[in-house]
């Protein structure tokens, strides 16, 4: 089991929070300025990747392995090339300065992605960690801080502060005042509360509030698969859904069956049985409270939505079949509660979309069809369309932002024509 070891870090006591901001500023004032993709930064991300990949405790933790993979030199080189490419001939991308990250407390690995992207392009970073961080998240924080503590990474460490505080408003206010970029992840209510803390006049802000995500499966395409291929599809879907207990923003909660309604029931029943088997193979078990919460929420759905039937395929997989998307409540109890509905085309989705709809995972659609659909939706929800199995694959383009561009300033450079 993962030890919830408490790493050394800046602790904020309520009355000392201005001191927290003061000590962070003092620390950063001595930190060397790092270029985007500085050799020292890349040495650190490489070491962190190795530490995550080789750690015994993290073996079998898909989320940690995905993070280790994402931090490999091959991946960071790819990001470097991308940044060079978007620089173009008439601009230079420079770090914005200090980035203040407030990640969600429980998507265990997200704070590293948010921080690492800002770090790679040369920023100094303050990362707020919850005092209640536990399990995988606490362990990854511990591991990260121990890599950071190696003397060889002193320059990166000098520009990084992990701060831990609880529900106090004052540290957030003080840190907001000193940053150039603020990044807020979390539920709508908390994001709104946090946004009340003023920023410096020049500072910018990125917000990642509550989101809802779904999958579109083409009935005919799924039907045409062999049994083995359907197992692979179900397994990828299960990975999208269950890696963060169906609580990540991008975890699919609704499946849109697009195509022939007559064969949809048969194809869907087969699919969910295979998803249930895949969860069993993956060792996913929903605990008693998750299962009861799911039962309660599914009863509420039956009361409030256009529900045709609710099937408990297994303790892990409950499927709420809708007659139509009218009245969809976008419930998110996690633990494997899925909605499904049959549509004749993806365009039918348009009137039901909301701005909070984020990831559409897809199977059985051509790229052209997807592009046409996104153009048709024209901004009504949906920030990303990715194949089933890649819902949780973190990308520097997230929720409609290119984080690498947001974490840099574009300095226009034109030489006089000779």
């Amino acid at each position: 089991m993962l030890a919830a070891t408490r790493p050394r870090s800046v602790e904020a006591a309520a009355p000392a929070c201005t001191d927290l901001a003061t000590s962070v500023s003092a620390q950063f004032s001595l930190a060397p300025l790092l270029q985007p993709f500085d050799a020292r930064t890349l040495a650190f991300t490489t070491d962190l990747s190795r530490a995550l990949a080789s750690d015994r405790e993290l073996r079998g933790h898909g989320a940690a392995q995905a993070l280790a993979y994402w931090l490999r030199p091959t991946e960071t080189r790819r990001l470097q090339q991308y940044v060079r490419a978007i620089e173009g001939d008439n601009a230079v991308l420079v770090p914005r300065g200090t980035v203040f990250h407030v990640p969600p407390s429980n998507v265990d690995t997200l704070f590293v992605y948010s921080w690492a992207l800002a770090l790679l392009v040369g920023n100094r970073n303050v990362v707020r960690l919850s005092t209640t961080l536990s399990g995988l998240g606490a362990y990854i924080a511990f591991l990260t801080e121990s890599v950071l503590a190696r003397p060889v990474h002193a320059d990166v460490a000098a520009g990084t502060a992990f701060v831990r505080y609880g529900h106090e408003a004052e540290p957030t206010r003080a840190l907001s005042a000193l940053c150039d970029v603020r990044v807020l992840w979390g539920g709508d209510a908390a994001v709104s509360r946090l946004r009340a803390a003023p920023l410096a006049p020049h500072a910018i802000e990125l917000v990642f509030p509550d989101r809802y995500s779904f999958a579109a499966l083409h009935v005919g395409a799924v039907d045409a698969l062999t049994a083995e291929e359907r197992d692979v599809l179900a397994d990828r879907f299960a990975a999208d859904a269950f890696v963060f207990d169906q609580q990540a923003c991008a975890s699919p909660r609704l499946v849109l069956w697009v195509g022939n309604a007559a064969s949809m029931h048969r194809v869907s029943a087969d699919f969910w049985t295979r998803v249930a088997s895949a969860t069993a193979r993956r060792g996913v078990t929903i605990d008693a409270s998750g299962a009861l919460r799911k039962f309660t929420v599914s009863a509420a759905c039956a009361a409030d939505e256009c529900v045709e039937h609710i099937t408990r395929v297994s303790p892990e997989v409950t499927v709420v079949r809708l007659g139509s998307l009218d009245g969809l409540q976008r419930v998110a109890p996690g633990s494997g509660l899925f909605h499904e509905v049959c549509l004749t085309s993806l365009e039918e989705l348009a009137p039901h979309l909301r701005r909070r709809d984020q990831t559409l995972t897809v199977f059985g659609f051509s790229r052209d069809a997807l592009v046409a659909t996104v153009r048709h939706l024209n901004g009504r929800g949906v920030d990303r369309v990715v194949p089933v199995g890649q819902a949780l694959a973190f990308d520097h383009v997230w929720d409609g932002y290119d984080l690498l561009q947001q974490f840099t300033r574009r300095v226009a450079v034109r030489a006089e024509d000779v």
């Binding site: 407030v102 969600p104 407390s105 429980n106 998507v107 997200l110 707020r128 919850s130 536990s134 399990g135 505080y165 609880g166 529900h167 106090e168 408003a169 206010r173 979390g186 539920g187 209510a189 908390a190 994001v191 509360r193 946090l194 009340a196 803390a197 990642f208 509550d210 963060f244 207990d245 169906q246 609580q247 990540a248 923003c249 975890s251 078990t285 929903i286 605990d287 008693a288 409270s289 998750g290 299962a291 009861l292 919460r293 039962f295 309660t296 599914s298 009863a299 509420a300 759905c301 039956a302 009361a303 529900v307 045709e308 039937h309 609710i310 408990r312 303790p315 709420v320 998110a332 996690g334």
Partner: protein, 373 residues
């Protein structure tokens, strides 16, 4: 199958059914109890399906072929207790609402809302009286209330604790409240009561944690002689568990400190008022004859064998104005025995083992609650 007559029109059928909860309790063996309960519960399912479209939608979606004609108790459809927090369910027109019970329960800030008409409220009172009658006899005993008088007199809506106290007060007379508003025991008040009534049986009622606080934590051992008292207490063990006080410790310490030997906990909830599960002499809780408990596996929701822990489902024939006759709680429990020949009571003897632990919520939605003023 005869549909349940509406409470306003009291036919023979209704009177016959009401006898179920007016007669002495704990008398029925399973062979008699199960078919009788099943008939009433099936009739209630049919009644609520017809009277509450919301209930009908939920049952139709959640249960395959399990409507009004369940072949056994395990097949009677059930609602999750949490649905009474998110939805106000009722099987009567608004004009017949006599009162709406509101309770916050133990976990949430969101209260349950239970709609009662006069008929259902009456059934609850009669039922509770027949259960308490098994303990207290037909006479109203002098009653010591382990609470502050303010709990029933404070302005604003009645709290769940206040409603509980008021409900129990009907089973006693010459009521004396023995705590002040700071919940400190009033020694002189209690001594006066004992001087007057302590020589014969009297009733003591209080919430479990208040009884412990008042009688054990605030008084020296041997200060009071309550050996003629009958203590009825309820409200859950959460506070006392934190102090490692179990039911057995509770009974033993009270007996040592005050001479109390007749101590009866009960388990009940606002979603099924009147249908309480009272502790027998053996320390187990027993359903009255018009109600029952079933234990389900919380993950599969299937019935588990006696002796296996699971989540408690409660069924009761009382709820008529709202569809609460079959409810899956969030409490864990275990049935120890049923119709045991060595038990003084028929029915299922069971224990409540606390709430299903709430798992840590994960994901973007579970944010830090950093509050900006």
């Amino acid at each position: 199958m005869t549909a349940v007559a509406l409470p306003a029109t009291r036919g023979v059928e209704t009177r016959k059914r009401e006898q179920q909860f007016a007669i002495p309790q704990y008398m029925l063996l399973a062979a008699d109890k199960q078919p009788m309960l099943l008939r009433s519960l099936n009739a209630l399912t049919a009644h609520h399906r017809a009277a509450s479209p919301t209930y009908a939608r939920m049952i139709d979606a959640l249960f395959d072929d399990r409507g009004a004609d369940a072949p056994d108790l395990a097949s009677v459809p059930f609602l999750p207790v949490g649905i009474f927090k998110s939805h106000q369910l009722q099987s009567i027109p608004d004009s017949e609402i006599a009162t709406v019970l509101v309770s916050s329960g133990t976990t949430g800030q969101i209260p349950s809302r239970i709609v009662l008409d006069h008929a259902t409220a009456t059934r609850q009172r009669v039922a509770l009286a027949s259960i308490m009658g098994t303990l207290l006899g037909p006479r109203r005993l002098p009653m010591l209330v382990l609470d502050a008088p303010g709990i029933i007199r404070a302005k604003g809506p009645l709290t769940a604790r206040g409603a509980g106290v008021l409900g129990m007060m009907t089973f006693g007379g010459a009521h004396v409240f023995c705590l002040d508003d700071a919940l400190t025991i009033q020694r002189d008040v209690i001594e006066q009561f004992l001087a007057k009534h302590g020589h014969a049986p009297f009733l003591i009622f209080g919430f479990t944690f208040l009884a412990w606080q008042a009688l054990i934590e605030q008084l020296p051992v041997g200060f009071l002689d309550l050996s003629n008292g009958i203590l009825v207490h309820s409200g859950g063990w959460k506070t006392l568990e934190a102090r490692a006080v179990t039911d057995a410790v509770f009974r033993q310490r009270l007996s040592e400190a005050t001479g109390l030997t007749r101590i009866h906990n009960f388990y009940g909830m606002v979603e099924q008022v009147g249908s309480v599960f009272l502790q027998g002499d053996d320390g187990l809780l027993y359903p009255p004859d018009f109600a029952d408990v079933l234990i389900r596996d919380p993950r599969s929701l299937e019935i588990v064998p006696h002796g296996t822990e699971g989540v408690i489902q409660v069924v009761s024939v009382l709820p008529h104005s709202y569809p609460g006759h079959s409810i899956l709680t969030e409490d864990r429990g275990v049935i120890v025995h049923e119709d045991a020949p060595y038990s003084s009571r028929c029915g299922k003897g069971f224990r409540v083992l606390g709430r299903v632990p709430r798992a840590e919520l994960r994901g973007c939605s579970d944010v830090i609650a950093t509050g900006m003023p």
